[in-house]
Subunit: 345 residues, 2 copies
């Protein structure tokens, strides 16, 4: 799926900022794709971008109304239907990250049919995939892996894309989750794919490319998460990464949603190399990305220094301190990667 | 899904014995569930059981017409519709292992609706699952794992069930593939489940049980297969097996469907223990099951002896030599397992 841009961000009447988490991620990373926001009376979230009516958004060139909210049950409230239908009648496509499919709402389905507009349900994949083949393909790939779910794998891949492009690279973020799909306008929520096709879907998401091209693939889950490790392993095999970055949230005491303790960074490195060799014998770690927002700066620096010493890898907080050290290591490991901004291309 | 028995095996007009592979597997393991076969003119397969008309099958008590065939594309030929509708009108449910859903055929869908009969599409799962929790649950579980796909994981689990029951155990085969679901009348084709729910589905397939109960869980794929390892890992975590048996086909030179070499049995043991510990720290191998049909008896015995010596585990061909040695090892490892037929219960 290719979602037409720019987007009008629809927040409905979500009760707090967290309800607009998906939309906020898109604005954080693709501000220029977001023309404005549309909020219903009672909405308690604010993306800090212009409030627009459907008419204003259409006049400004908006092509997709993006339902960028998270709510309990993932359903579409009935009182949102009117605005969505109005957007369709004005000529916009609609994209949603909710569990419920847009076409389950009859008025929306009929409006889309009548006006020939597309409905994108990012949580669902109607794409058919081949099973993975595991054959080496040209191009370079980096995968972000984690000690757990929600430890910064998407943000790290996006930060790497931004910094590599600033250094003159041909680099592209590859989405494997719903927010990532909105941010890149393309991709597949890999956890929604039928199990037989996990690695095949990733081969489709990050296909063969030129020898100097880098795909920065958003990881999912963890090889050590008892709920989702199968997804993580299929993703690793399909990505066949040359390099990987381990993402970690040092304040966490147990894995998300289960009672299991977190694995150590060393365990994640060892098992990722062990399993990743199946489809790329040259796989290697190039850095550690920590989310240190729970710590003061001194403490954060100390945590990163300790990780760097323990694992012999650059360790940084991508949001707080940037990903420069990881890119420098990538440059040292791979000849085609430049080591500093403005280096020879 | 619980598929009502006994079955009338429908073979259509498949062109050879391989076309009836699914049906043959059911007859091999559940002869008494199979009332007879129904073959159309031109059918070249024969299950060696009575040929019955729909009327004869109904008179004999048949409750499900089972479409037990494999064909290119997995479609239902139009000229099979008449017999299937006739079975529904007579009061039978219909079960299919084809990729195409039965209800995609309008005449079949309407007949089922009109007569209140169920249509089972074993390749598809409409069951909703929770994500896996990885919490230890009571009961014993054994998983068959493999160096590759199609190396005897289902047959080994079924042979273990048969032999354990003969020794007086409370043992149950747990299906994770379509033929296995027909054989057990229950289960889920795990490769058809949405990726997020692989381990959760296995927790549902092999639930908590009494302390002396053994589930014998059919493995899928291989941790070393680049197409399907994600499924295998989710299955391992969801099964949280106390014991596993490594299945191997020694004549194979590359993994099924891909160019990758087979892993060694030692590699499979090591990685299965390494990853399986996440949900069961006590996981251990209890045997090696080889499919030696490509070899003469002397050669087969030599292969098994060599594996037994190399890995310190009983090695056998379940079909040719039985699974007795593996059960003896299980008895030595777990106090509640008896070591010989007729032993104290």
């Amino acid at each position: 799926m290719e979602i037409p841009r720019p987007y009008l961000m629809f927040l409905g009447d979500v009760p707090d900022q967290l309800g607009a988490k998906t939309a906020q991620g898109i604005v954080d990373w693709r501000r220029d794709w977001c023309l404005g926001q549309l909020r219903l009376p009672g909405c308690k979230a604010d993306l800090g971008i212009p409030d627009l009516t459907i008419a204003q958004a259409l006049a400004g060139g908006a092509r997709t109304l993006l339902v960028g909210v998270v709510n309990a049950g993932g359903v579409l409230p009935d009182h949102w239907t009117g605005v969505i239908v109005q957007a369709i009648e004005g000529g916009m496509d609609v994209a949603s990250g909710l569990h419920a499919r847009l076409e389950e709402n009859r008025a929306i389905a009929e409006a889309a049919r009548r006006h020939g507009r597309s409905l994108f349900n990012v949580r669902h994949s109607d794409q058919s995939f081949a099973t993975g083949k595991g054959t080496r393909r040209p191009g370079r790939r980096l995968l972000t892996v984690g000690t757990d779910c929600s430890v910064g794998k998407k943000y790290t891949a996006l930060a790497l894309e931004r910094e590599m492009r600033a250094r003159g690279y041909d680099a592209e973020f590859r989405a494997t989750g719903q927010t990532g799909v909105f941010i890149s306008g393309r991709g597949v929520a890999i956890d929604a794919v039928v199990a037989d096709f996990i690695s095949g879907a990733v081969e489709w998401i990050a296909p063969a490319a030129g020898p100097d091209h880098w795909d920065l693939i958003e990881g999912q889950g963890s090889l050590f998460h008892p709920s989702f490790a199968g997804v993580s392993l299929g993703l690793l095999h399909g990505a066949q990464p040359d390099a990987f970055v381990v993402c970690h949230e040092p304040s966490r005491t147990s894995m998300r949603g289960v009672a299991h303790p977190l694995p150590s960074i060393a365990e994640v490195i060892e098992l990722t190399v062990r399993c990743g060799r199946l489809t790329n014998p040259d796989i290697r770690p190039v850095g550690i990305a920590m989310n240190t927002q729970a710590y003061g700066e001194t403490e954060a620096r100390a945590l990163l220094d300790a990780a760097q010493t323990a694992h012999g890898l650059p360790a940084t907080d991508p949001i707080r301190f940037g990903v420069g050290p990881i890119l420098d290591r990538l440059a040292a490991e791979f000849h085609d990667v430049k080591s500093a901004p403005g280096g020879s291309v």
